[in-house]
């Protein structure tokens, strides 16, 4: 197997993995970045969302080869100390219940805010409509994104 170069959270890794392996499993099992979650394996739930060159991507649906050389950001790389405005806002609004989908929700929201610093409810709904939460945290996700847009302070 040829080594694949993955740039994750600013660090470059040369990995001997099957190039057809979904990025999700390389992140979780090869690199130990377990914040990115397996929820459906079919690109339907959004729990595995990471940023690929700033765009939200379903890491269960892209192979390691497809992700090679791109800049990958996972939840662990969003901030070194939980200080990203979204993380602060998530805590202020007490969004998570079980928490399993929240990495994907936050990464999707991060991509939204990067493009649209003050999104409307409709913008939020559009951007996050494929990020499923079984616990029902949607009303708080909306509030937290609005709060983050204003700086996220608690």
């Amino acid at each position: 197997m040829a080594a694949i170069r993955l740039i994750v959270n600013g660090r470059t890794h040369a990995l001997d993995v099957d190039p057809g392996t979904p990025l999700l499993w390389v992140l979780r099992e090869t690199l130990g970045l377990t914040g990115t979650k397996f929820g459906c394996g079919a690109g339907l739930c959004g729990s595995c969302t990471v940023l690929l060159d700033g765009e939200p991507a379903r890491s269960c649906q892209i192979t390691a080869l497809q992700a090679a050389d791109a800049s990958i950001t996972t939840i662990e790389g969003l901030s070194p100390d939980r200080t990203h405005p979204l993380q602060q806002a998530w805590l202020a609004e007490q969004v998570p219940q079980c928490g399993y989908c929240q990495s994907g929700q936050i990464m999707t929201a991060a991509a939204l805010l990067a493009k649209n610093p003050d999104p409307s409810d409709a913008d939020i709904d559009r951007a996050l409509s494929a990020s499923l939460c079984r616990c029902g945290t949607y009303p708080r996700i909306r509030r937290a994104i609005h709060r983050a847009a204003k700086g996220g302070a608690r």
Partner: protein, 701 residues
């Protein structure tokens, strides 16, 4: 899961007192947790370390509802702890904790007293230790914010400095607890202790467990319920890079590999010949036809008021309707998984389960060990909703670890989860009501045909009617002089499980929608009729009135919109909801707004109550507008979120939650938010369209 579920359902608080074993026994915590000498551990529920850190042991599963934070608050209240120094740690199941099953919205109710007593025991010891050191009367000292204070002299000592001395004193069995008026932690809204790890990816769920040398496994199970593997050809699976072995496990076949992905691919390549068993011809249409046929026969009476069904004969007018609900899967976001490491004479298990004690029993049996030889580590849990009382994945992981001689993590795919869940039962309900000459309801009969969860699990005594089918129907709160509720239990064989709010999940829908039909037949406003029939039920009536007021009941709506109301009691709490819906020309339903009023007695953490109402509403709404599991040829038709969908953020209504605390004993909050939403929405749709919704999901016909 044990028979205590029934006790939880009926009286969580009472049942709980019997669940906790050994809380009085001094030294228990040392025996269990090997606590250091200078640490105060007067009982199994808490430790005070020399640095002042208070660690609260959580003997219930954290399913995402904030249970662990609320339990820590109960300890902190009586301990007079400095909340900034309070930590939580999952309790390792064992005799000190008894049954740690987490369900029936019973965690706070069952531990309401034990956790406060645990905190009070520690507080008494710390105060006594300080008084001894200062050589003053202990009544001259008091505890506050993590310190003991001698007010007269102004001396103070932190809990950490007192822990070692306090640990040498005898533990008081039953220290005095505060009156409600003295509470300053209970009733407040501290940030959840589990939140920070859930926003930075550091939270460890079951699938995140990593044990050195572990293998990952995927298990092929027969697509037909009750079927089993006859033979298998592992050759193609073993060709997949990373696959290390193929192993029969239970009725299925497992592929073990060096990565989850390799295990999944190996399992796809596996060739298995199945004996599909006796259910191979079963389908939903046949199940429904059988239910309809059985509904023509009388059933077992579970409640009778007045003359019961006989009173229909004398009524001026009768109405009749059939209500049906489908089987439902739970689909928590984290797929079913378990990690096990079996070694000679010992076994360790890491599992996101709703019953740590149940996992311990199941693992012990599978490993051929005594329960004491099995250590269960509860991980964080990616949603429960009743799905995680089952222990079949624990058994798989233990058997595979034993066979492989290595730690093994079994992860189910989403397809495994949807197609091999334990399901909320489908039910068929025949209802009749009799109206008197003035239009007042004089008789109500409800015949339920349902497969019973408790029946299937063997929880019932000979001849006992299955409460897991009639709860939420037999306790109809309305003052109707003649009531008869009957049950016909019939099980087609689909595996059943507890599903958030259990029988109330369907019976609130059935009864609250039929009550709207009664109101319609009587020419009455459904809210006003409920108020009248709830005169003797003040807690139902109070939440009903609050929800109606806040929703603006009676205010005009556009022609394509409707407003519906429902009220239900379960798990010791009372919830009413008003839903506003918009029905498009093609029949598509959009829920615009939900107003919820809840009386859950004494409130421990108001924001957790709100979040659980939001969660219950959205979980129930997903089911009401989308959820159905159907069976063809003994198999579940649905497989993933494309055909077993849930509500998305763009479909999420505005939700307003109003708390109506009553000062009554603490009630459950995990489940009671769910039952009223389906009938509130269905009643709103019926108002908008003029047609009752008698079958779920809405739009199913």
């Amino acid at each position: 899961m044990s028979a205590t579920r029934r006790d939880f359902l009926k009286s969580g608080a009472l049942a709980g007192a019997g669940l906790v074993i050994g809380v009085h026994v001094p030294g228990t915590a040392r025996a269990v947790g090997l606590v250091a000498q200078d640490t105060l551990a007067p009982n199994a529920y808490l430790r005070v370390a020399p640095d002042g850190t208070v660690t609260v042991m959580i003997a219930r599963s954290e399913l995402g509802q904030g249970t662990s934070t609320a339990l820590a608050m109960l300890v902190a209240e009586e301990l007079e702890a400095d909340w900034r120094k309070v930590r939580i740690e999952p309790a390792i199941p064992g005799p000190a904790y008894g049954d740690t099953s987490t369900g029936g919205s019973a965690s706070i109710r069952s531990l309401w007293k034990p956790m406060r007593r645990a905190g009070a025991q520690a507080r008494e010891l710390l105060v006594r230790a300080a008084a001894d050191q200062w050589k003053v009367d202990r009544t001259a000292c008091h505890a506050a914010n993590g310190e003991v204070v001698h007010a007269a002299s102004g001396r103070r000592l932190g809990y950490g400095a007192l822990a070692a001395a306090a640990a040498k004193l005898p533990v008081p069995a039953d220290p005095a607890l505060k009156d409600r008026g003295q509470h300053h932690v209970i009733g407040t809204t501290p940030e959840r202790l589990d939140s920070p790890a859930k926003v930075d990816g550091s939270a460890v769920f079951g699938t995140d467990v990593r044990v050195p040398g572990m293998l990952y496994a995927s298990v092929a199970q027969c697509p037909v319920f009750g079927g089993k593997a006859v033979s298998f050809d592992p050759a193609a699976a073993l060709q997949v890079p990373g696959v290390v072995r193929v192993e029969r496990v239970g009725d299925g076949v497992a592929v073990l590999a060096q990565s989850t992905w390799a295990a999944f691919r190996g399992r796809d390549a596996l060739r298995v010949t199945w004996d599909e068993g006796p259910l191979a011809a079963l389908d939903s249409a046949a199940i429904r036809a059988k239910f309809a046929e059985l509904a023509q026969q009388p059933g077992q009476t579970t409640r009778k008021e007045g003359r019961g069904a006989a009173a229909l004969t004398g009524a001026a007018r009768t109405i009749e309707a059939v209500y049906e609900v489908p089987y439902l899967a739970h689909t928590p976001m984290e797929p079913v998984n378990c990690t096990a490491h079996v070694r000679p004479g010992a076994c360790e298990v890491w599992v996101p389960t709703q019953s740590g004690s149940g996992a311990q029993q199941a693992a012990a049996k599978a490993a051929g060990l005594e329960p004491a030889a099995v250590t269960v580590h509860l991980t964080l849990i990616g949603g429960g909703f009743g799905a995680r009382h089952r222990q079949d994945c624990v058994v798989q992981a233990v058997l595979l670890s034993k066979a492989a001689g290595a730690p093994v993590q079994v992860v189910w795919t989403r397809e495994d989860d949807v197609q091999h869940d334990v399901y909320r039962p489908a039910t068929y309900n025949l209802l009749r009501a009799g109206l008197g000459a003035t239009g007042a309801p004089v008789a109500w009969t409800h015949r339920i045909v349902a497969p019973g969860i408790a029946t299937q699990m063997g929880f019932l005594k000979q001849g006992e009617a299955d409460w897991s089918s009639f709860d939420g129907a037999a306790n109809l709160p309305y003052a109707i002089p003649n009531i008869e509720v009957e049950l016909i239990t019939h099980d087609p064989g689909i595996p059943l499980g507890w599903w958030r709010s259990v029988a109330s999940s369907q019976n609130a829908y059935v009864t609250e929608c039929f009550l709207d039909e009664v109101a319609g037949a009587a020419g009455r406003d459904p809210y006003e009729l409920r108020r009248e029939l709830l005169k003797a039920k003040p807690r139902h009536r109070a939440v009903l009135e609050l929800a109606a007021q806040r929703a603006g009941w009676g205010a005009a709506l556009p022609a394509d919109q409707g407003r519906g109301i429902a009220v239900h009691e379960c798990f010791g709490s009372f919830v009413a909801q008003v839903a506003e819906v918009e029905v498009a020309a093609g029949g598509a339903v959009r829920v615009r707004r939900v107003v919820c009023a809840v009386d859950c007695g004494t409130v421990v953490h108001p924001d957790l109550v709100r979040s659980q109402m939001e969660g219950g509403i959205l979980y129930g709404l997903s089911a009401a507008v989308k959820g159905a599991i159907t069976i063809e040829q003994g198999r579940v038709v649905q497989s993933n979120f494309h055909d077993y969908p849930m509500l998305t953020i763009d479909e999420c209504p505005t939700i307003e939650v109003h708390l109506a605390p009553s000062g009554d004993p603490v009630g459950g909050i995990g489940e009671p938010g769910l039952p009223p939403i389906a009938p509130a929405v269905a009643n709103a749709v019926a108002r908008a369209t003029g047609r009752p919704v008698r079958r779920l999901p809405i739009g199913a016909g």
